[in-house]
Symmetry: C2
Subunit: 354 residues, 2 copies
């Protein structure tokens, strides 16, 4: 991953020891350097056994927005992963049926297709596998089991037709097929062309001087060790990429209860996974407050401070925080226009809900 | 309201005494009669003090879909009045924050702009007045008061800008203005061109013979006395149109607890309003099960039986029920394409929610 011209790299090396050179360098970067940073691809990788078709994507969209597969008929995927917002719910902890809350903050669904694993603890290896979880989580969609959910899908004539057309076969309405449709839709939820992306493709004016400065500080501090471009999440390696959080105490652990959750350990039982999490994407992070696995940190400024302290044992200055936050705001992309789906009806009757 | 040619009226008079003539007559209607029934207008009436503009409608759409004005940040207008479905939630009773349920079934928002009053008991004289209610209903959006809700709107920069652009003035973010925007959006939620509407405009093949037969029976039984075309709801007269329900016992009152709710009496305290309700529209009624103010009747077939018994003291035959249900299904209109709004963000932070 060669990111810098020799000149820029030289300059960065200089900065490691001379913070006063920041502003001069970054003014230069913003105006003339052609940095070799990667922009977000316009399309997400497709899983070989789940090819994308327009009909499958449309079916997945319907399922994503349909609240009738929650026990109360009020909670859909979009409730916690709101596509009108940052692909999350802006709540500290996800809230599902009957006002119950889960233990973790809703991760964004935007660009989730670029992640190598899903959930905070990476316990799902694919979007397909992820999609089955919330339906039967008692504090999310609250269905007793996947068969009960499937029977609700089967009770809706329009879904029976759509599943048959998209998947064919003897039992087209299956959990596997439903998950494939939802995952296909989710692979369209990409937010390209952020200021950072336009800058990375050569539009030197797309980021402000402060945002470029923030990016370089972000890199310099070591944040890109985990939050790698272009996703600014963990690298896409098989099985996913995980990091211990918090690594240092840094002064925030008690305040924000950062070690109450055992992280990936709860999923694998391996002691080496204790407090490990999937490295989340920072794309659109300005839209997804509050922050971290437990949503305990209310602002992006404070989240940046906590990360520097907890992972690098560095106490940032206010100016550094401002610069990095400015850069992170440059990761807000363009959101595709989405037409509200019409959900297939149950004519003259409705599903039985709690 | 002259609906029939002389010949047709003669035929209907004959039918009042000769049920066996139904099929012959209705076959004739479906193929050649030009009945003078009214189709639903393509546009709803606009309130003089709330002119429609594209910017106001877009703002109203954002507010309609935004869950951040509920105490938990999870319930929007669209939760109970789901525009992906029949403009309701397909639940017996509306469910708001913390899984709390209200006492009544969510009425459809589609075509509500044609109603002379809003809510089951008609206690709001306009969409503008209605829009303020659910925000502070403890079992709906659950905000303590309208000012608290308003402060959440004010905390979002994009809304401050939009309100100023749409309304101007010293305090553009006001409850009155928010309600005007939502009402303006709701006036676009019209579903014209149902099979009935196309038939009423002269396309004799738009309804099946059974649907025409059902319409004539519906009229013949007296249903159109309250459910008047083209809305098939109460007539649009100042103050609204109300009817006692149930009027007769008809054998269903206990089974479906139809007299437990005192109806409009609870809103006005007038004894003459006991068990009175606004006559709801039957447009898209096939999509809005379960039925009645308490959502106690699960199917459209049974709802038709209950209405005939409770209002006209008539026990319908299965064939009559089938015909009327077929007609009611011809009231399902065309739904406008709606682009999901982008909701203005709170950059780097979020609203405090329950």
């Amino acid at each position: 991953m060669t990111r810098f011209t020799d000149f820029t790299r030289f300059a960065i090396d200089a900065i490691r020891n001379q913070r006063l050179a920041w502003i001069a360098l970054c003014g230069l970067c913003a105006s003339s350097a052609a940095p070799a940073w990667d922009a977000l691809p316009q399309q997400a990788p497709v899983q070989a056994d789940n090819p994308m078709t327009a009909a499958k994507i449309e079916l997945g969209k319907q399922l994503f927005f349909d609240p009738r597969f929650s026990s109360t008929g009020t909670v859909s995927c979009n409730t916690c992963h709101n596509l009108m917002l940052g692909g999350d719910d802006n709540r500290p902890l996800a809230m599902g049926v009957h006002g119950l809350t889960g233990p973790r903050n809703s991760p964004t669904v935007w660009n989730s297709a670029f992640h190598a694993s899903q959930f905070w603890d990476g316990r799902a290896a694919s979007l397909e596998e992820q999609a089955k979880g919330p339906v039967v989580a008692s504090v999310e969609m609250g269905m007793n089991n996947l068969d009960t959910a499937l029977n609700r899908v089967r009770a809706i004539a329009g879904y029976r037709t759509a599943f048959a057309e998209v998947f064919g076969g003897k039992e087209p309405v299956s959990i596997g097929n439903a998950a494939m449709a939802v995952a296909a839709f989710e692979r369209t939820l990409i937010t390209p062309n952020s200021p950072y992306d336009r800058w990375a493709r050569g539009d030197a004016g797309a980021m402000t001087a402060q945002q470029v400065r923030g990016l370089l500080q972000f890199d310099q501090l070591g944040c890109t060790g985990c939050h790698q471009e272009p996703l600014f999440g963990g690298p896409r390696k098989p099985g996913g990429h995980f990091a211990v959080f918090p690594f240092h105490d840094g002064g925030f652990v008690d305040q924000y209860r950062l070690r109450e959750d055992s992280g990936r350990f709860a999923a694998t039982g391996r002691e080496s996974d204790r407090h490990k999490y999937k490295v989340p994407t920072l794309r659109n992070v300005a839209l997804t407050a509050p922050y971290f696995h437990n949503g305990a940190v209310p602002t992006l400024e404070q989240a940046v401070r906590v990360m520097a302290a907890a992972q690098m044992n560095v106490a940032l200055t206010d100016a550094q925080v401002d610069d990095i936050v400015a850069f992170l705001q440059a990761l807000t992309g363009e959101f595709p226009a989405i037409t509200l789906p019409r959900l297939p009806p149950t004519l003259g009757s409705s599903l039985r809900v709690d």
